[in-house]
Symmetry: D3
Subunit: 269 residues, 6 copies
């Protein structure tokens, strides 16, 4: 990516006046990636979700320089209360994270932004982000959006490889593959173990897709908190999945840039 495009797309690299001009002269989407630092088993690094958020945002800018986005620096820490039992997890409480997001939104508004999206890479953030985007819309009069790098099954995402029985939720095939592609030096597949809690699917009414649900901590589910089968992971699958993620996010961003209440998508003039 050209230096000038890069500087025009990453808030971290823009000057204040450049940011002000970008907002005043166009109508860019301010995109706030958010991840997590949390236990992902012995085979994956703690910051897996933050690294994925970073990587997808960076590829989005590289591959789609035409999209008028301002990528904000990734919020590395998210809310990870389901993993606080495990050393290394850094979790912001829901109320603290809501306060952070509100401060960030106020900053976007002050910069002149009108469109604001979260790009989320951690399933445990999803519901809180859904709460936040509505509250921010009311309070700061921003058009707000939420996109996901890779929506897990328990957030309403696709069930994935049948060998995971719809339970590839945390540290499994998908996440491990993406990391093998993006940061192979941070993955130690020799420590990966299959953790498929088939009993979850014995419940008919409670679960991820059934409408009713239970709250779970990762230690409730498996012995080491991994949920899925990382032994099936390959860099190749990861490459495909990252590519798909970038495509999906780009498609969402395209619409976010032209989104207007009351009419369908129009070409951005």
């Amino acid at each position: 990516m050209e230096k000038s495009i890069r500087k025009a797309r990453f808030l971290a690299e823009m000057s204040g006046p450049a940011c002000g001009s970008a907002a005043a002269e166009g109508d860019p989407l301010f995109l706030q990636p958010i991840g997590a630092v949390e236990h992902h088993g012995a085979h994956l690094p703690l910051a897996t979700d933050a690294l994925v958020a970073d990587a997808v945002a960076a590829r989005l800018v590289t591959e789609r320089p035409d999209l008028d986005v301002v990528v904000m620096p990734t919020l590395t820490y998210g809310t990870s209360n389901e993993h606080v039992w495990a050393p290394g997890t850094v979790s912001l409480s829901p109320v603290t994270l809501l306060a952070v997001l509100d401060d960030v939104a106020a900053s976007v508004r002050r910069a002149g932004g009108r469109r604001f999206a979260f790009l989320n890479a951690h399933g445990g953030n999803t519901n809180l982000l859904r709460v936040a985007i509505r509250e921010i819309r009311v309070k700061h009069d921003l058009m707000t959006f939420l996109a996901h790098c890779d929506l897990p099954p328990d957030n309403g995402g696709p069930a994935g490889d049948p060998r995971e029985e719809g339970l590839g939720i945390h540290g499994g095939l998908g996440e491990t593959s993406m990391m093998l592609h993006l940061f192979p030096e941070l993955v130690d597949l020799s420590l990966a173990e299959r953790r498929i809690p088939s009993w979850i699917n014995e419940y008919r009414a409670l679960g991820f897709e059934q409408g009713s649900e239970y709250a779970w901590l990762s230690e409730d589910i498996t012995v080491d908190g991994v949920i899925g089968d990382p032994t099936l992971a390959t860099a190749e699958h990861g490459r495909a999945r990252v590519a798909e993620s970038v495509r999906n996010v780009a498609a969402a961003v395209e619409e976010m840039l032209v989104f207007r209440f009351g009419t369908g998508p129009a070409v951005r003039s």
Copy 2:
């Protein structure tokens, strides 16, 4: 329903010692219904969601006296920031509602409860309740659950009658029918108007089922905040839908009563 069963099922009607015994001697599910008081168009009453939560909880107890539940008094007010533009809406802010739910959960724990569920009848509460049940599980060491009276499409529920184009979200066919069945004297169908914002479905990447989403206030969507087609509503459809709702909730409660992490459902001894 017999008076004695009723008194054994509704926290409001139990004495303190009876509640303590129920928790100490059994392992009942404390079920907290929650609704909302918010604008539902000119044809429906403000408390529609709270009335539905009340009614479904009451029918659950009547039809399934075998289920060991303690139904708590309905939380009438929810978080309804998407409707604060409309007179009559009473909305608790997300942070306030989280604090209320935390206080309620602490009370259940003090009563000796170990299983705690929300029975939700307002789509706008859903994501916040998902945040709450996990946080309560961590903080109060309760097994926590969430069930819905009728999950709307934007919360992951079924698309419903095709004439609503998947947009029966607020004050439409389903809700109006249920109210016609439950509280016909509170419905004025003569004021109902079809409000189907078809433009929503012109977006491919943004929406209710696509993974990416935008935050919306009801005034963003239609002129009076109704989203759906209440003119299609009938008491008969309402009867069927309420019956289905009670069945679904009962099925979920059955599993909540025997739910254990690590194994599938077993018969409760």
Copy 3:
């Protein structure tokens, strides 16, 4: 009560536009009943205070349809920290309840309301409500009021039947009688016991009427938290007391509807 009056008086049953019109065209009193769910001894149900608040509000509307009130749905949970030792008590912390009341007041203001009253049925809420009505007046520019279903002696109410020695405060003669009249099926007089802590009256300077006071939890006072003599209760006394309560509240509401700072009560035009 006629359906149409009922619908015009209960916020829960009004539509949003009807509520907006009521506020815009008149100057109704928005009346927010508030109770509690707390231990009341073995003979009374946990929701005694909420049930009384509900009942008094409903009778007010029935008996005095001329009063231009909008009765809001009862806040079932109050602040009951004096009873948290007892299973079944559901208590909101003072700060949480202040936040709830503030959100409710903001909602009344948005609806166009100018007069806002609490109708309280739980002595433990009284001081907090007094704090709240002043703060709401400052913050939301509403005229605010407080009325009580039945002010207990420790809140400045009358001493009552001399056999209770001025100590009929919680679950005693008055409350039990009102419940015998209103909800006889929820009272089990066979479990009622006289609990008169006469030692309270041995203090000269500390107490309910002396100006100085001590904070008490109900378990500080008697073995089961009841303070008073429920064995004296009768449905007949309850009927009289409820009637008096409704009369008193109606008289207060009459004045709230015409209250203006700077002049005495005038007939409402």
Copy 4:
């Protein structure tokens, strides 16, 4: 007062170890005076309430050196939202003041205290202090109390001189007299004016003694916020009133020192 007694009674003048010993070896009452800094009309100083609290606490120690109290430094600022319209008023919000009182209570507990009282000289603090003492009792397991320097009619105090028609509430005969006695150099009687809002007494159901009430700001009541008749004030009346205040507080403190739940007052061994 002897220096050694003074040092043994005022927390400000004690050393840390002396405070620790006092609590460990006896069972003193920690007494926290609280006042306010708020508009009291043109004739009285802003800190009237704080000065009275200070003075009454000091006289208590001087006149009753036998009472085992630890007088804490006066909280000068209280909650005065009813006077924020007037320059010079310094008001803590209710939630902030509750947090302050909680921190102070925790400090008393850490010092080894078991009995903790507020000595209040500002009517606007009263209800909040009533909320606080119960919450502190629950949270910090302290025996908590509340005494008043001079309870005004709107807090349940005596009606006072009939020429004030029961309306000597703020800056009137009583307060002005006490200040004439205690701090004559701070009073300018030439600026005092009679402000008796007789219309208050035209309401039958709403008011200070009637059970139902309205929230008021001092600017709602009179043109300059004074409520009462300071022109009737004399230093002599003030002397009597201060003496009575000290006697009342001393009597209350006597009982606070021997107060036990479950039995009447006993002589302190």
Copy 5:
């Protein structure tokens, strides 16, 4: 000091209208002294810092009646978390104290004030006050300042007497001398002991002047929390130090009164 000047300088002694006029007609500096109530060893009283703040503020007014200041009543309690281990310490949490200071600042703004300063006598408050003055400037549009009675070495103040090895931080030579001068009856030198933790100076990179630092509680440093050598204290040194403190504060206040962003000090017209 003349009574009239005194009344014109101390907010506590001014009437509300006098305060309003002072702000409207001039541009006085509202000066908020703040101290602490915390363990200062066996030889000094708990309120040492509050007493010093009081005394310096009073002398400032006496010696420099020409300075247009409005001295607010001292905030006796500060944040003293480094001494909470010791009985007698009364500490407000940082967040509570920030809320108090914000409420006070809002009150100054409402009074018409434009210049607002803290006069601090407790090292443990310093950093929080630095945070507060900037936040208040942003939020309340006040010109805000911070002055110190006697800045200790760990806050960037001078190292002082070499016999204290730069470690005269708490209850040492300086503070004890000032108290011997100001309040000799509250000092018990017979209980003073030298506490010089020389090991502190063995660290090269960590410490008070080196740029990097560690957080300390006073119990971390010495056996009784005193840091310094009070046995060196004399009233004469105290007299000089108080005089210097008043001079320094007066010089700072002089500049605060004429301070304008963008130009150097000018004579105040």
Copy 6:
């Protein structure tokens, strides 16, 4: 740097179990870098402080692999209320940031950490971090530290190049030089302008080193918020300054690793 050392030093790259082992088996310093995203003039990128924090932390690990540190992912956003007037600034409120730091500290404690330091690159964070490290020490029983990448003059750092007159505070010679060395592609020296507000030094009593101070926003000081002379910047000076920063931080970390209260530094076994 070798991959294995890198993985052993960066929390982001460690697995949860590796982090737990590191804490359980050794006594590493958890080092939390913190920067800011705020206006730095037209010549520097918004994330200057975060980028510097990142870079210094990374060099520390590279150059001193012997130091037993666990570098946490940089907190990119800090508190930047002095720059909220400028587009692009993203500022967390002081209370929000304190809550974030508290959550992070709790996470370090849960991981088994005992030593916790902030590495700060933004002057506007300094005082809040000083508040935080003491509060965290009390609340979480961690040994806590604070180091700076480059302490500016207004935080007690060295005055620097005399051509900046002690006013190289924001976006000036030092910062610009460091960025020219570290991220030359993000600096546009052609837009740099000298901004030396010499009037600051005309004040004798108020200022950065004088003990008394005023709160300032960057827009109060210069026309574009830059304070210093970036036109003097060179990559060479930046190289030296970064090297010195890394040396200083390394020296501080060395002592943090062996720091014990009560004795001087010892060699770490």
